[in-house]
């Protein structure tokens, strides 16, 4: 039985009718010092892999994966940012020649040409020479590509205030806390605190959330009068009795939220 390109097989198996077996070259016929892949070389690869894994796990433990606040499509102030390996494309789209009416150039034409050339490299660089110095055009183009990707990534990343960004977007589990607005403490809260800490104690641009804090009544009283961190002193205006009501109210909300 004869099949494709003159190969002959036994029945419909993949065993060739031609008895001549493919015999690989003997070890001694290779130039230089070859090594058996199994098990000698694989053992070394295994060791390299183990070292790599330890390093990788150290990084994982030292830097937990970031998570921001739950997506809020109404948050118009949020500045979008892609993962770092897309920053160069994101940066490219910021330039005048590649955005607005020329968006197609930045989004399709330039990346398409670059990655298309990468994909078709074997057909663009058809010479038989392999050393980088012997094929200056492809080497130069590749260097230009790498340098522009690194530069674009740098341009995009250096304008981002990573720490402020991470701080502002810390995840908060939004618990549904019923805030008793009838509470006498809430009336006091409305007078002194609401402008910064918000209607539902959720915090705002100038002040943190008051839900999930770990202060007791006396500490809250002290903070309301003397301030803390960026909160100035004397924010509270009212009597000692109102101060007590306010602190007890905030603690009660926190107890409910737990």
């Amino acid at each position: 039985m004869k099949k494709g390109k003159g190969m002959e097989f036994v029945g419909d198996s993949r065993i060739t009718a031609d008895k001549k077996k493919f015999i690989p070259k003997d070890y001694s016929e290779y130039p230089g010092k070859t090594e058996a892949f199994w098990p000698n070389f694989l053992l070394k690869e295994w060791l390299v892999g183990a070292v790599f894994l330890v390093g990788f796990l150290c990084m994982t433990v030292a830097h937990p994966a970031p998570l921001e606040k739950m997506a809020d499509p109404t948050d118009a102030a949020y500045i979008p940012l892609p993962d770092w390996y897309f920053l160069f494309l994101y940066q490219l789209l910021k330039y005048e020649f590649a955005s607005g009416p020329y968006n197609v150039i930045g989004a399709i034409v330039i990346p398409g040409l670059a990655f298309g050339a990468l994909f078709l490299a074997p057909f663009l660089d058809t010479g038989s020479k392999r050393r980088p110095i012997q094929r200056p055009i492809s080497t130069t183009l590749m260097f230009l590509g790498i340098i522009s990707v690194i530069w674009l990534t740098w341009e995009a990343a250096s304008h981002v205030e990573w720490e402020t960004r991470a701080e502002e977007n810390k995840p908060v589990l939004e618990q549904e806390v019923d805030i008793n607005t009838e509470d006498p403490g809430y009336a006091v809260y409305e007078q002194s605190c609401i402008s910064c800490h918000g209607e539902n104690l959720q915090g705002g641009a100038a002040a943190p959330s008051l839900i999930g804090i770990e202060y007791d009544v006396d500490e809250i009283k002290d903070i309301a009068v003397n301030g803390i961190n960026t909160m100035p002193a004397d924010q509270f205006e009212g009597s000692e009795e109102e101060l007590q009501q306010l602190a007890e109210f905030i603690v009660s909300v926190n107890e409910e939220a737990e």
Partner: protein, 224 residues
């Protein structure tokens, strides 16, 4: 005992050639860092594969907790991150692995490029490799949305706007990806989940299979 099991199977299915294809071959001197330290550049491909295995395994465990739905996606990730034993480490491995795999792929691509190893007869394998790079970038892109936090949501919105900008097929492509011509929402999340967990890994496995078969078939490129 093991030998007997092997012989029993080998007698019926003739697995020795298969074994030979996978493991029984010589590693030439010029790629062996034990002989020439500069040959460590040949490790990047293997490390890419290693990180890909980490990604597959950690991803499999992540899906045990992750819920692809806009109400629960973020909460499930938050729960995994804060409550589940070792959840932070498994998610950390998947998160950092996504970056490391891109770095390794980049280095591997540069090694092959600057050595001119893509030249005849290895043109096909080069194109398979570049396709793996694209699939990996797409995996990063789709995986970025899944935690459903602000950064995920707004980055995806921008991505979809870019997709929309493609002439002729832009709007269709956007609708295909996000499930709606306007809204980035519940449909988008489930579609990105399906693409990230089923479609792209399927493509990745097929391409990696082709990549490895071609390497074994053609052997590694010779020294410069």
């Amino acid at each position: 005992m093991l030998q007997k099991i092997y012989d029993w199977i080998d007698e019926r299915v003739d697995i020795t050639p298969l074994w030979r294809d996978i493991a029984d071959h010589e590693v030439p001197e010029h790629v062996n860092p034990a002989h020439h330290f500069s040959a460590f550049v040949y490790c990047f491909g293997g490390l890419t594969f290693f990180v890909t295995v980490i990604q597959i395994l950690s991803g499999m465990f992540l899906t045990m907790y992750y819920v692809p739905d806009i109400e629960n996606a973020w909460r499930s990730v938050y729960y995994l991150q804060t409550e589940v034993a070792h959840g932070q480490i498994v998610r950390g491995m998947h998160h950092w692995g996504a970056s490391v795999v891109i770095v390794m792929l980049f280095l591997h691509t540069l090694r092959v490029f600057f050595q001119g190893a893509y030249k005849k007869p290895r043109e096909l394998n080069w194109m398979v490799g570049v396709s793996i790079f694209f699939v990996m970038l797409a995996l990063g892109l789709t995986g970025y949305l899944l935690p459903w936090d602000n950064k995920a949501y707004f980055a995806t919105q921008v991505t979809l706007e870019i997709a929309e900008g493609v002439p002729y097929i832009g709007e269709m492509a956007k609708t295909l990806l996000s499930g709606d011509p306007e809204i980035v929402g519940a449909q988008t999340l489930t579609r990105f989940f399906a693409i990230h967990v089923f479609f792209l890994p399927a493509a990745l496995f097929a391409l990696m299979g082709a990549h490895f078969i071609l390497i074994r078939k053609q052997g590694i490129s010779g020294p410069l």
